[in-house]
Symmetry: C2
Subunit: 312 residues, 2 copies
């Protein structure tokens, strides 16, 4: 098997692109794919400083690595979620990556500056993944606003986007379909533009890139994700991909080209400002503050119900 | 486990409906589901005579059985496709069913009145399933027109509809999405209204119904269907259904309710008449005649190329 670009010995085969590459050419190919996505989708310019959401996993670190290699101006933001050893390792890997390359990283410890995910899970009946998503959106937007970033880049890859699209399609959530896009424009002064430069790059490709670039990332999946519907969607998409290579890419690409225009009439209301924190909200209070308020109320109730002897 | 309707001992459990039924109540439930689909979707009335496309498989025979039990006026049409033992058994089962209930059945032998599927497969490069679909559509419409039926009912079940929808969605074939519906109105004098009364009933339910009603059907799948993408789609939908019961039903129902209206702007041109056979066509010649013409041309060429000694 020969490298499509230089004719040398190929080390990675990409069935959906009907291509094979050697190590150096794959790294070039990957970075070019990132650059093309950024440019073609008008995600950001070389002048803008981009806040990169980094979890410590392969996708977000591969994204950060590629953006730096491509000469974009970046800073990282990492949320230490408080999910035991998993979160500790995530934070260590992220901080080590930033330190080794002398990159600016803003780390938010939810234990101190918010509510750790296990506390939310213990005090509310919301699924941990939903609560975690709400927390992440809030803190990413808050940090972007406080530090003056207009754009937040996340490491969502093709597999993530295809799984999300499948979930939206299986339930025909037309409002979600109307706004599933690699670029989400800002609709509020505290809502950063969200961009996904890896949206056409598969999970397999980011793993290969991280390996070739010797990026040390956390391999474990979040312990809360077991049984999550996203994983089921990814599993069936992998089966389809195996039987019909290119399925994921054409599913997402054709959606953006042919499918989504049909949903353009769906209106997604612009947010107002949360009366508690000032961040974007679709009611008087944003979903993050309503989550925190629920935790606070229940924590207070439990404290009040505790017998006097136990609190001594 | 108790029957939801009569409280007796249940024999079948339907997870997607969160119900269980005894034998008699399941048969009642199944027939009521068929009746509801026919009435709610305005498929046909009790006055109209319905042509039922019967293959000899469980779905089409269960449909015919239920329509008769519900008092609808029906006749059957069966295509003997010429696919060896599979087709012979299909025809035998269909004819035995009609004979035992004294039903009117029109059987078309493609060997005599058209081109058998293996001949098409041998002389063209089209996939057998595509050629078979083209043949079926042509002959069903032809028989309906020649015998004066305005409506043709097929046994497509929920699994078929969900698989077809998934295929259309994975490639975002918006023109197909615009017209995937349990009722397809007539757009040409020789294009019968097509209806699918089983579109909300799962393959499992039709199998149980056929078993309870002692319907003797052909169990084998068509030998040409191995590896067909429909089967792959059905497989992944079964995985989703197992993890999230009700997925198939809500996928199809929500599509019709929320998804499809978005594609209403997609125009599907009305057909003209085929200059060769007079049936609906989207060019000068209909897709069936163009298929037959291709077979005839290639057959003639092969005959001409044959050495004189071989033809003696």
């Amino acid at each position: 098997m020969k490298c499509k670009r230089c004719g040398g010995k190929a080390e990675v085969k990409l069935r959906q692109h009907n291509s094979a590459f050697c190590r150096a050419c794959f790294v070039y190919f990957f970075q070019r794919q990132v650059q093309r996505a950024v440019e073609h989708e008008h995600m950001f310019t070389t002048e803008e400083e981009v806040l990169v959401a980094v979890s410590g996993g392969k996708d977000s670190l591969a994204l950060w690595d590629a953006l730096i290699a491509l000469g974009y101006r970046t800073a990282g933001v990492h949320l230490a979620l408080g999910i035991g050893a998993y979160s500790r390792t995530s934070t260590e890997k992220t901080e080590a990556f930033a330190r080794s390359r002398d990159l600016r990283l803003i780390t938010v410890h939810l234990d101190d500056e918010g509510v750790a995910i296990p506390t939310i899970a213990a005090f509310t009946r919301r699924p941990a993944c939903a609560a975690c998503g709400t927390s992440k959106r809030h803190h990413f937007d808050r940090i972007a606003f406080e530090h003056g970033f207009a754009v937040l880049a996340t490491g969502h890859n093709l597999d993530d986007e295809a799984a999300r699209l499948l979930g939206n399609v299986l339930r025909w959530q037309v409002a979600h379909l109307a706004k599933q896009h690699p670029v989400l424009a800002s609709t509020h002064e505290r809502f950063a533009r969200k961009v996904k430069p890896l949206f056409r790059i598969s999970e397999y490709e980011t793993a290969v890139y991280a390996f070739f670039r010797r990026i040390d990332y956390i391999v474990d999946e979040c312990p809360n994700s077991a049984g999550a519907s996203q994983l089921i969607y990814k599993d069936v998409l992998n089966r389809l991909e195996a039987a019909m290579p290119g399925t994921k890419l054409s599913f997402v690409q054709e959606f953006l080209r042919s499918g989504q225009p049909a949903f353009a009439g769906e209106t997604n209301r612009a947010p107002q400002s949360c009366e508690r924190c000032g961040m974007p909200a679709f009611g008087a209070v944003c979903s993050y503050c309503s989550l925190v308020r629920e935790v606070e109320t229940k924590q207070a109730r439990r404290m009040a119900a505790r017998p006097a002897s136990a609190s001594s």
